[in-house]
């Protein structure tokens, strides 16, 4: 029997090293990562380093892109580019936070319900059906009347708490059949504990599915936020990409060529974010599904 020799890399070190190797697995995945990091970084750091003053200028209303205003100006003559740089934080935060909440709730409830079946499942399904069918506009309008929906965290919670049921149902469906697999039984036999069995053995098998849904949930959450603005349910305070889209929509920016950059740039940022995330999945998919690795 050979003794473990120096050739053995400790699992931890290899994991860290491996992680970086994994990140560069796929070229487009890496590009995606860069895009996502750039957008998230800009949104997080932008407001800290850029001078936030962006004065109204009645002589430059709906200005075209120019040297002074790279992306033109808005209906109050304010610089669009600055708004893009400064206005990502809330939107990106709400997008990720709400998507995380949605996904976590959906995965936790969906997989546990399917795993336990029985009464727990029945009750959870019932709740899911109710949450799913509760008319969101009305609920939000009522909430908006009684609470101030202006903290990003609240908005994220609210959006997240309302959008999990669909994913939950499809997670549940998958777990129903995954839990019948023998490797799950094996894990149960090893008494790994429900938590590990469900979240360590079953759920990772749908990781890439969950991941895609998470990414889709990010954009969905962002547009849910914009929707709240559009419907007048979330208060417009300050400026962010969502408010910009709302503003552009309200002011008919898409009917006017000069005003197009104003509505297109926040949308473009969201598109880029989504695109980056989707490209990133190529790498993540390979990390999550060893059978796809071909390098």
């Amino acid at each position: 029997m050979t003794q473990p020799t120096a050739a053995i890399v400790t699992p931890r070190a290899s994991a860290v090293q491996g992680f970086f190797r994994e990140l560069t697995r796929s070229k487009s995945g890496f590009v995606g990562l860069i895009i996502v990091l750039l957008i998230v970084g800009m949104s997080a750091i932008g407001p800290l380093v850029v001078d936030p003053s962006n004065p109204t200028d009645v002589n430059a209303i709906w200005g075209r892109p120019s040297a002074a205003h790279w992306l033109g100006t808005d209906g109050a003559g304010k610089d669009t580019f600055k708004q893009i740089v400064l206005g990502g934080r809330t939107v990106v935060f709400v997008g990720f936070a709400a998507a995380a909440i949605t996904t976590v709730i959906a995965v936790v409830i969906g997989s546990l319900a399917a795993y336990f079946r029985g009464r727990f499942d029945a009750v959870m399904l019932q709740i899911t059906d109710v949450v799913m069918t509760i008319p969101q506009i009305v609920l939000l309008a009522v909430m908006g009347a009684f609470f101030r929906l202006d903290s990003p965290l609240w908005l994220a919670l609210l959006i997240g708490a309302l959008s999990w049921p669909i994913l939950m149902r499809s997670i549940r469906a998958q777990v129903l059949s995954l839990k019948e697999r023998e490797f799950v039984e094996a894990a149960r036999l090893l008494d790994l504990g429900t938590f590990r069995v469900v979240f360590g053995e079953i759920v990772p098998n749908m990781a890439s599915y969950i991941l895609i849904n998470f990414i889709i949930a990010v954009t969905n959450a962002i547009y849910a936020l914009v929707g709240l603005y559009l419907l007048g349910l979330a208060p417009l305070a300050g400026s962010n990409w969502g408010i910009m889209i709302n503003d552009a929509w309200m002011k008919g920016a898409m009917f006017q060529n000069d005003a197009l950059p104003y509505i297109l740039s926040p949308v473009a940022m969201i598109v880029l974010l989504q695109l980056g995330l989707i490209m990133l999945t190529r790498t993540l998919e390979e990390i999550l599904n060893p059978r796809l690795r071909d390098k």
Binding site: S177, E180, R291, L292, D294, K295
Partner: protein, 354 residues
């Protein structure tokens, strides 16, 4: 022993210097199967035995070009001969031809038959799909014809068609699934049948029944068979020829009697001696000492040298070729890849049944 086909017959399948490699990450790859050379003649049955992990399944998959994404055939040819005498190189077959070739000409019973079935389809659907995918003039077409044909084959592998055909795969026991797959492999009467450990989950009676069915059908349809098994007894019964593999290579080949009565490779000999007998008192059995080598770190020279009791210095430097021991036609040649084949003494301490 069954009489093999006329020696002047052409082989159905010939592999030449076949190599199968798997990519293993970091741009590296391992050759799981190397330098495979053999001819398979009609109505011949070749048993492939050997160490677990030595590349038997890989070879089988390679022959049918069913390797997973990361598997590839970097070198070698596999020539297949149709009933009408046409020959093709399987490794160069086009997509459409490959599809038609598979199962109609060459079928395979997979190891781990548990997952071989689409979980959402009933067994009867699997059967009828297979038939419909290869339409022939006289192949069964209507539902009842298909049912009858499937039932017949299932019965021949000792399954109760009424229960099985209407079941979903997960409703069958492990052995039942294996047998369904065997039945399915016979559905189109292929010329070449690769059976990868087809009886691991079968009891002896069922095994026997299947062995008999295969023998019967082989006589009838003159197909050739590659039979991968760890059950040497079964190999002894079913095969005309045996090939022993070790670490990706064929290290000994010959007819059954050669192998079971006079193995010339120390590994083959050790393997046969490790078979526990069913009769008599408890024997002392010993496994071959040492451990199988890793694919990415094969020993220099003969891969078996660390475990070999006949090892000499030369074994560490030369990787021996298959050396002919007894020349015979139609692939029945006895050959062993051992420098000291002449010295290998084999004696099985069998306590024959009283």
């Amino acid at each position: 022993m069954r009489q093999t086909a006329a020696s002047d017959a052409e082989p159905i399948l010939s592999a030449r210097d076949l190599v199968v490699a798997y990519r293993t990450g970091d741009g590296k790859s391992v050759e799981a199967v190397r330098g495979i050379d053999f001819d398979l003649y009609p109505n011949q049955s070749l048993a492939l035995v050997g160490e677990s992990g030595c590349g038997k399944t890989t070879l089988g998959l390679g022959l049918l070009r069913l390797l997973p994404r990361l598997g590839s055939i970097p070198r070698g040819d596999v020539t297949y001969r149709y009933r009408d005498g046409r020959t093709i190189d399987v490794t160069e077959l086009g997509k459409k031809d490959l599809r038609r070739w598979r199962w109609r000409e060459a079928a395979m019973v997979f190891q781990g038959a548990m997952n071989a079935f689409n979980p959402v389809l009933k067994i009867i659907d699997h059967m009828s799909e297979t038939l419909k995918a290869h339409p022939e003039k006289n192949s069964p077409k209507t539902r009842t014809q298909i049912y009858d044909r499937s039932a017949e084959l299932l019965r021949s592998v000792r399954l109760e068609p009424r229960q099985v055909l209407d079941s979903y795969p997960h409703e069958l026991s492990g052995g039942m699934r294996q047998r369904v797959l065997i039945a399915m492999s016979l559905l189109l009467e292929p010329q070449l049948l690769i059976l990868d450990e087809p009886t691991t989950a079968l009891d002896i009676l069922t095994q026997r029944a299947i062995v008999d069915v295969l023998a019967e059908l082989r006589d009838k349809y003159k197909f050739a068979m590659i039979f991968i098994s760890h059950d040497l007894a079964l190999a002894a019964e079913l095969a005309d020829r045996v090939a022993t593999m070790y670490a990706g290579r064929i290290i000994e080949t010959g007819n059954v009697r050669d192998i079971f009565y006079g193995p010339r490779h120390p590994y083959t000999s050790g393997l046969i001696n490790a078979v526990p007998p069913v009769v008599g008192d408890l024997p002392e059995l010993a496994s071959i000492p040492g451990n199988p080598p890793g694919l990415n770190a094969l020993p220099q020279g003969c891969s078996f040298n660390p475990r070999c009791s006949y090892v000499i210095d030369e074994c560490h430097t030369v990787e021996p070729e298959l050396l002919t021991i007894t020349e015979r036609p139609a692939g029945m040649t006895h050959a062993a890849a051992c420098l000291r084949w002449q010295d290998v003494q084999h004696e099985r301490k069998v306590i024959a049944r009283a």
